[in-house]
Amino acid sequence: MLFHSVIYAVFLPTVWLLYMLVGRVSVRAQNFVLLAASYFFYGWWDWRFLGLIALSTLVDYVVGLSLDVTSENRARRLILLASLVVNLGILGFFKYYDFFITSLVAAGATLGIDLQAPTLRIILPVGLSFYTFQALTYTVGIYRRQVRVERDPIAFFAYVAFFPQLVAGPIERAGHMLPQFNRPRQVTADNFASGLRQITWGLFCKLVVADNCAIVANAIFDSHRHLPGSVALTGAVFFAFQIYGDFSGYSHIALGSARLFGFELMQNFATPYFSQSIPEFWRRWHISLSTWFRDYVFIPLGGSRVSTLRYAFNIILTFTISGLWHGASWTFVAWGFLNGLYYLPHIFFAKRFASSGTLQSTARGAALIAARVLLTFFLTVLAWIFFRAKTIHSALVMAGSVFSTSIATNPAALLHDLGLLNPILIASAAIAVLVALEFLQRDKGFALQVESRPSSTRWAAYAGIIGLVLCFRYTGSALDFIYFQF
């Protein structure tokens, strides 16, 4: 069930009404409604995978109880290991089996070894990577004695499957999320209104920005022609806004939907394209995943409190694994690795970056900030080429063309041939609105968080955004959220 589908527009208010009705009975009854609704929501894609999420949740529930009653360290480690093996085993099998087998066969072939290993053409259950990581925060949290065990199976199952963030996050921490399932939720009118605003903003990001940008990005990335650098860069820039609108849009709808039920999820995006450096970008992009990798991969590897070389290695490795998490393809690995490389100057020349001035109040300071923002944006756009391209080879060709003399080619003729002039006009206008509103509201959780503005501004903002969604939304075949595939 897609957040921007008609069926979700029926599902959400129905569940909400039911939830409010049973709220008179007990919190547990509300949790049961959420659990049933979440399984219905998930089963809408493919009911067969319900067994998988139920199994994974059951294992973690039992592991949690076992860890709670076990004090001996070795036994605790073994119990945790069981949770890791099951969770990561399921993830590894469904997501990476075919990838590793084909990579192995290809590697064998280059060495002249004929390896006979069958691929299984496994379908990746939607949201598997997200709920697996979320469930792991619970077992690891209990192991580290940072999280209290959850004895109520309904609360725990509802926590893992909570529909607003089930299929693409934010990846919540058990310590933040589980307590919300155990106490009465305050569904206030203010929160309800705020939730609706955030859902509206999310719909704008997805339907107007992301989907209109997708027309341009898809046509360019899927084109079989040799593209001059200017067109390749155009495609990459529109993809940058597509993926941002798509994923931040999803997250906003998730946060807004959860708030309608009295839940607070963690902020997942904080205007990342205004970042002045790559480290800052990663503090503001997909925050729930970045912090997950920081807490569960980077820090266990030693983090930054090691030698500079080891620190750099930890960064590269964490980013590369993060790339692989995004998808079972070498393009994602390259994307992660490239982002790791981007980070290195900030490790080796940390002092220079730290002392490079805070001159915001002067014209020179503003220009410097703008230059940093543009450079950071350009680097991320370059990395997105690897994320979006089908193969490493095509990514290299495309990225190479950006640095060739063809970057100076006027792209208009080719874009016209590809039928992209109208879509570019619409998508550019959508991007302009997004960037302007996010800049104006950069200190807020989302751009439509306007309750502190005068009522005339608020109403103008609502009418404007709803009008844009109604009149400029993408109307082709429904486009899935990109992150569903991860």
């Binding site: 029926v10 009118a189 209104a193 109208n422 006009l425 619409i426 309750e451 009522s455 009418a463 009149c471």
Partner: protein
């Protein structure tokens, strides 16, 4: 100052929002060219009922719609509309046949481009939804009936949004010197080479992806089956266009369409594709001038009479001659 909401204010604001939304819909419906087109679309279908004893109907896209109803007698009626795909044809036919009628013969377009990528989605798609709704069609709701129901609200209508976006984008474009197709007769007066270039370009665009998608073939089968189910004889018609327009159609694509007609159970095919060679018969690469329409109607009448005289008429109580005098006296002879 931060605004605080109570449940009451949310309800009031919600109600106000609904009222504003309704007003916006009303204004959109009254002022948008898209909905004016919708009204014209439905008027063509509804006017069928102002013609008594219609025995033959024409269905198809602009190649069919060029035969204006004022050229036809009361025995024949044309529900063709520019931009219709086979889905819309099915919807309208389903609607007409579901109500009392005397239809015996269906002149169904068999133009190759109807089987191409360009006709997978029609700008008239939302117009036809209601015919599918009213007749309880088991087919035609690709995004579900709920989504189709939403399409009935003007500002939720996906096709309207598409129209609006295109309209806005067009308004930013400077007029081009070669935008000649919009002006009646302008194409005829172009130099021959330029005319041929435009015809090839139009043909190549219209004939993209013939046979790639199964949907048009499925719709074709459904249309013919529906007609046969109601005892209506189907005559497939391939409409005239310039030779250059057809250049992009490969023999293999032609065979695919012929195979589709045969598979659907069509035995009667009238092929007029290249009956006219003189430019005066055309107003653009694939549409006829008034002279062309008159000539086509005479050909249609003659060939259909021959066809029915050789075969068995669908309804024994109908005289083929009565059925076939569909070219009205108003049409000017060449």
């Amino acid at each position: 100052m931060r605004s605080h909401d109570s449940w009451r204010t949310i309800l009031v604001k919600g109600a106000l929002g609904v009222v504003l939304f309704a007003i916006a819909n009303l204004i959109t419906y009254q002022t948008s060219g898209y909905f004016q087109r919708e009204n014209e679309y439905h008027a063509v279908v509804q006017n069928f009922y102002t013609h008594h004893h219609v025995k033959a109907i024409f269905v198809g896209d602009s190649h069919v719609a060029q035969i204006d109803n004022e050229y036809l007698t009361d025995h024949a009626y044309n529900v063709g509309f520019g931009g219709d795909s086979l889905r819309e044809i099915y919807a309208k036919l389903r609607y007409l046949l579901s109500r009392p009628n005397e239809i015996d013969v269906l002149f169904l377009t068999a133009d190759v481009h109807m089987f191409g990528t360009g006709r997978l989605q029609s700008s008239n798609g939302a117009f036809a939804d209601q015919y599918l709704f009213w007749t309880g069609s088991p087919y035609g709701f690709g995004h579900g009936k709920l989504a189709a129901a939403f399409n009935l609200v003007p500002l939720f209508n996906d096709d309207f949004v598409q129209y609006l976006k295109r309209d806005i984008a067009q308004s930013f474009k400077p007029a081009r010197a070669d935008d000649v197709e919009e002006t009646e007769g302008a194409w005829q007066h172009l130099p021959e080479a330029e005319r041929e270039r435009l015809a090839r370009e139009t043909g190549a665009g219209d004939h993209l992806g013939i046979g790639i998608h199964p949907e048009p073939f499925e719709w074709y089968g459904r249309i013919v089956a529906l007609a046969h189910q109601h005892g209506v004889r189907v005559i497939a018609v391939r409409y005239p266009a310039t030779a250059e327009y057809f250049e992009s159609v490969t023999p293999e694509e032609d065979r695919l369409v012929e195979h589709a007609l045969a598979a659907a159970g069509i035995q009667d095919v009238l092929d007029f594709r290249q009956v006219f060679t003189d430019v005066s018969y055309f107003k653009d690469p694939d549409h006829l001038s008034r002279k062309g329409v008159d000539a086509l109607l005479q050909l249609l009448e003659t060939r259909t009479q021959q066809m029915l005289a050789n075969g068995k008429a669908a309804s024994p109580d109908i005289e083929p001659a009565a059925l076939l005098t569909f070219a009205s006296g108003t049409n000017a002879a060449q």
